[in-house]
Amino acid sequence: MSQPTPRTTKATDGSAPQEGVELQDVSVVFGGEAVLADVDLLLPAGRTALLRGPNGAGKSTLLRAIAGLLPFKGEILLFGARPRTLEGRAAFAFVADVPTLFEDLTVREHAAFLSRAYARPESEERTLAWYERFELAERVDEFPGTHSRGMRHKAALALALGLEPDLLLLDEPFNTLDADARVTLGEALRQRAQDGRINLLSAHDQSLERDLEAEVVEVRGGHVSRLRG
């Protein structure tokens, strides 16, 4: 198998693109050790990018840095806004590998709460429709604490998809899903890319690259290189 040639991902004219995600010289340091070092990445609209690499390579760290959940050096711009600003936060939805849900709200109330918090009232109906597609409709009036790990993951994905953010960050989203839900999520991600939105997810499954028509971004030893797409 020939080694694919890494190609530069930085904007050639040096200006910050307004229609996508741009990372410039991003480093994340834990305890004096760089988990990510000088990462440059450009994701234009309408793309699905698949972060791939061994365990501990820094895939989740990269996603969390983009979501503004980790301190970093360098510059991250989400459609021209920094991730910790209100505009930046409104631009994306993040589903962690262990999804964060509000344990005091039922699954249905999550849809109502997030639609108002994001000032997207129409997203409540969309989220309820995604609950149905993920076969959660009969359990929406229960607290997520009573649900299995897979069901919690489905609920978090339905909420993120319902919000229809310009950028969707997913950390190993397929791991806990059943076969039907994997198909549903795959279709949703393909449709999002066709609609001009960006999906950035981490996964180990080799077949996803073809199924999602995704570009592969290799993360290894804290360095990032785009391989093919």
């Binding site: 959940l69 997030l114 108002r116 918090a117 607290f143």
Partner: protein, 458 residues
């Protein structure tokens, strides 16, 4: 068996520590305690004695009410009990007698220590010496321990006993002020009654060991003994840094919320979308308040009533007010809505802070208004409304500072670090305000600071 156990224990203590050493230590500790209480100087402006019985009765009621919150068996048994209960020809009462005696005796000692501390505090804060508080504490703790056993076994006798104790506390509240002023007759009577009730309940709890054998708690008690051993191991592992305690706690809380029956049925309609993020967060906070356990709501009501009673009794200015501000922090931690972190939501500070604070403060305002109305309707003094407004201002300041502290520190508002920072902030602000003027200045200043910082601070 009991004689043998006592004899064995007596010899073990004698061999390990020496009885003369223990008597020597007990003598000096008693001497220091009595000397400490006698030399305790009251503060310059003692609190009004009329507030003392209300405070004591509120604490006694809380101690008794908290029994029903207990979800684990009050007595923990060991493997030797399991062997004896299962294999020996002795009846259950005889096997359990040494353990139960030890359990009740330890509670009497704890109660006496609590009573002594209360005696000391009362001497300093109220400038009256009430030695009967030691006996009252011991009797109350004995009653609490016996009630805990009876409640855990769902014995019908527990309810009448709890009602009797509540009536006793209410009677103390009604006649307490008179008794304290006329030579401490009421606390002595209360101590005697609490001790008698405690003994009665303990005897009932012991008698039921044979009547309903095997009691439900026996199995739980043994499981808990094993569980404690594994928890001890987990704690040791955690302290070595091998486990993540936060994850365990989160899972436990998540399960507890899911298990609480019926709480999902308590609903509030979601606000209109035009209220935006502020409306969403406020709705979530109101839901959280609505779904809080019933006993917690009762405790919240009692705490609000306590703050109002202290303020309407005239506790304004200086150190007592700062202490009251810290007490309001407890209220704040329950009035404040749940945290929105660590989810990266697009919420501005006003939407986050206002949404978390306003529903609880609205409930507090309504309750203070009810207290003031009831007090003035029942012939209270003219300043009932002012006390309510001051109480609301204190709680508002404590709640807002707690919200800010928890957000700045990125911790839950139930964490001690957030409590500490909030207490420091609200205590300092109240101290400054009380130095500037009387209740009117404090009320206006606290309300201005609370709502101003909601609007301005991140």
């Amino acid at each position: 068996m009991l004689r043998r156990r006592v004899g064995r224990g007596y010899h073990w203590v004698g061999r390990t520590f020496g009885w003369s050493t223990i008597i020597y230590l007990v003598f000096w500790i008693a001497l220091f305690v009595v000397g400490g209480v006698q030399s305790a100087a009251p503060i310059e402006h003692p609190l009004p004695v009329a507030a003392l019985p209300i405070a004591l009765d509120a604490l006694a009621l809380l101690a008794l009410v908290s029994v029903s919150l207990q979800r684990s068996p009050p007595v923990v048994l060991g493997r030797s009990h399991a062997m004896l209960l299962g294999l020996s020809p002795w009846p259950a009462q005889r096997v359990l007698r040494p353990r139960l005696l030890g359990f009740f005796a330890s509670r009497v000692v704890v109660g006496a220590v609590v009573g002594t501390a209360a005696w000391l505090l009362v001497t300093i804060l109220f400038a009256v010496s009430v030695p009967a508080l030691v006996a009252l504490g011991a009797g109350l703790w004995l009653l609490r321990a016996a009630l805990a056993m009876l409640v855990y076994e769902r014995r019908r006798v527990a309810l009448p006993l709890a009602l009797l104790a509540s009536a006793l506390a209410a009677l103390g509240a009604a006649s307490g002020a008179l008794g304290f002023e006329q030579g401490a007759a009421a606390p002595v009577l209360a101590a005697v009654a609490a001790s008698a009730l405690g003994l009665l309940a303990a005897v009932a709890a012991y008698a039921y060991q044979g009547a309903g054998y095997p009691a439900g708690y026996l199995f739980d008690a043994m499981v808990v003994a094993e569980f404690r051993a594994s928890v001890l191991m987990a704690v040791m592992t955690q302290s070595a840094g091998a486990l993540r305690r936060r994850g365990t706690t989160t899972r436990t809380r998540r399960r507890a919320k899911g298990r609480r029956s019926g709480s999902a049925r308590l609903r509030l309609p979601a606000p209109s979308a035009e209220y935006g993020a502020l409306g969403a967060v406020a709705w979530r906070s109101a839901l959280s308040l609505l779904r809080a356990p019933l006993l917690m709501k009762v405790a919240l009501l009692a705490a609000l009533g306590y703050v109002y009673a202290m303020l309407s009794a005239g506790v304004v200015g200086g150190l007592p007010l700062a202490v009251l501000g810290l007490a309001a922090g407890f209220l704040a931690s329950w009035l404040l809505g749940p945290s929105v972190e660590p989810a990266p939501l697009p919420l501005d500070p006003f939407a986050r802070g206002g949404g978390r604070v306003l529903p609880g403060l609205f409930a507090a305002a309504v309750l203070f208004a009810v207290f003031a109305t009831v007090r003035s309707a029942t012939g209270g003094p003219a300043g009932s409304g002012e006390a309510g407004l001051l109480g609301f201002a204190l709680v508002a300041l404590a709640t807002v500072t707690l919200e800010k502290a928890s957000s700045w520190l990125h911790v839950s508002h139930r964490e001690w670090t957030a409590w500490g920072l909030s207490g420091l902030l609200s205590g300092t602000l109240l101290w400054v305000l009380s130095a500037l003027g009387g209740p009117g200045v404090i009320t206006l200043g606290a309300l201005g600071l609370a709502f101003g910082s909601l609007l301005v601070l991140p």
